[in-house]
């Protein structure tokens, strides 16, 4: 092999001169913590000895020297070093590599790593068929006339996209309108906003309705008296409507406010159970 050519993820390449004809090397960029910025960049320097003899201390020293030179080029990044020997390492070489914090692997270990990575890759390719990723949407409502209808419209779009049928969407909209009205009524300030978060997952839609007020109405509060002719009472239906229309309703007390959580489970379209208790 005439030279060591860097194979790079992330669009940057590096080249360095050959250490030996039997050596191949790779420089790759990765990012940790799922963040693609320089603070999380990791540069992997890997060399592979593809020869009948094991890696010796001279090979390790050579690799360490070259890795120091390379490190100068990637000052901002964390450098991870890895040596692979087809026939393994001599005892001294393995100890030296270990002391310097260099990963060391033989051909068998490399094969196991590769198989594990390939298996993981196959599994991740299958994932979209099995798991629908969670999607989140946020809406902020100003204190304005009929602002709750904006929330209803938003949830109609989200619910339709998720596969809820029309009856279930109608129930979610009506329950959400109740939650928003309640949130506005109990906000400390007349101009307070109501914060909505919609979490769409594979089997349910969860809606968080949060205000900056003292509390929401709770079912334990005194209810208005029923009219004398047997008709239902006039006021205090908000929470009962939410509970009747959704699968789960709960109130979470927060510092400086409260949050109401509405949950509707998604069932297969056409089985007639959307909107009913599951």
């Amino acid at each position: 092999m005439g030279s060591m050519r860097g194979t790079v993820r992330g669009g940057c390449a590096a080249t360095f001169s050959p250490m030996a004809r039997i050596w191949a090397g790779v420089v790759a960029h990765g990012f940790q913590n799922g963040r693609y910025d320089s603070g999380n960049e990791v540069v992997w320097m890997v060399s592979v000895k593809d020869a009948a003899s094991p890696v010796n201390t001279g090979d390790v020293e050579n690799f360490l020297r070259r890795s120091l030179i390379l490190k100068e080029n990637f000052r901002a990044a964390r450098l991870s070093r890895w040596m692979v020997g087809r026939e393994g390492f001599t005892a001294e070489a393995g100890k030296r590599a270990d002391t310097e914090g260099v990963f060391s692997s033989d051909a068998v270990q490399l094969r196991i790593i590769r198989e594990n990575l390939e298996e993981g890759s196959r599994a991740s390719r299958k994932t979209p068929d099995r798991i629908v990723p969670v999607r989140e949407f946020e809406v902020v409502l100003p204190s304005a006339s009929k602002a709750e209808l904006v929330a209803a419209r938003a949830v109609e779009e989200i619910g339709t996209e998720m596969g809820f049928d029309d009856a279930a969407i109608g129930q979610i909209k009506a329950a959400l309108v109740e939650a928003c009205i309640n949130a506005f009524e109990h906000s400390r300030l007349k101009t307070a906003k109501v914060f909505l978060r919609f979490v769409a997952s594979a089997d349910r839609l969860t809606i968080y309705v949060q205000n900056g007020g003292v509390d929401f109405d709770s079912p334990a509060e005194p209810l208005s008296e029923a009219p004398s002719d047997g008709l239902p009472r006039k006021r205090g239906w908000g929470f009962e409507l939410m509970k009747g229309l959704m699968d789960e309703v709960r109130v979470e007390r927060l510092r400086g406010g409260a949050k109401i959580v509405l949950v509707k489970y998604l069932v297969e379209k056409g089985d007639g159970r959307n909107g009913q208790e599951v």
Binding site: A152, D166, G170, A174, I181, K234, W237, L241, L245, G275
Partner: protein, 123 residues
């Protein structure tokens, strides 16, 4: 004789009221005022057709309960028609479906057909 306006229709001694797509406190009060004015003019039968109504909130429900009470106090008759499924659910939760006749269409309500209470249009 039938007189049709934007929000209501007069058919003999019956008036049909057509609320907006969203019944909240404001729309509910408008509906109540309209209903009261017809009762005071001698109309005995009030049909509220909810065909265009998508959402009735709890305050709207309160106003409707008050309207029912008022119509009965004045010896009138109030009927609902054209309810979408969710609005039927709302009335069912508060227990109104036990107290009022619900028809599938306004024609059924005006004609006083036998099929009522629970007959709903789908959303």
């Amino acid at each position: 004789m039938v007189k049709r306006y934007k929000n209501f229709k007069e058919v003999g001694e019956t008036v049909v009221l057509y609320p907006d797509n969203y019944i909240n406190d404001i729309e509910g009060e408008k509906l109540e005022e309209l209903c009261t004015s017809y009762l005071e003019r001698g109309f005995k039968k009030v049909v509220i057709d909810f065909s265009e109504t998508d959402i009735i909130n709890s305050i709207g429900v309160s106003v409707l309960i008050g309207m029912i009470e008022k119509v009965r106090d004045m010896n009138g008759n109030i009927l609902f028609s054209g309810l979408k499924q969710v609005n039927y659910d709302v009335f069912s939760i508060v227990g109104l479906t036990k107290h009022i006749m619900i028809y599938e269409t306004e024609e059924d309500a005006i004609g006083g057909n036998a099929k009522a209470s629970g007959a709903v249009t789908t959303a």
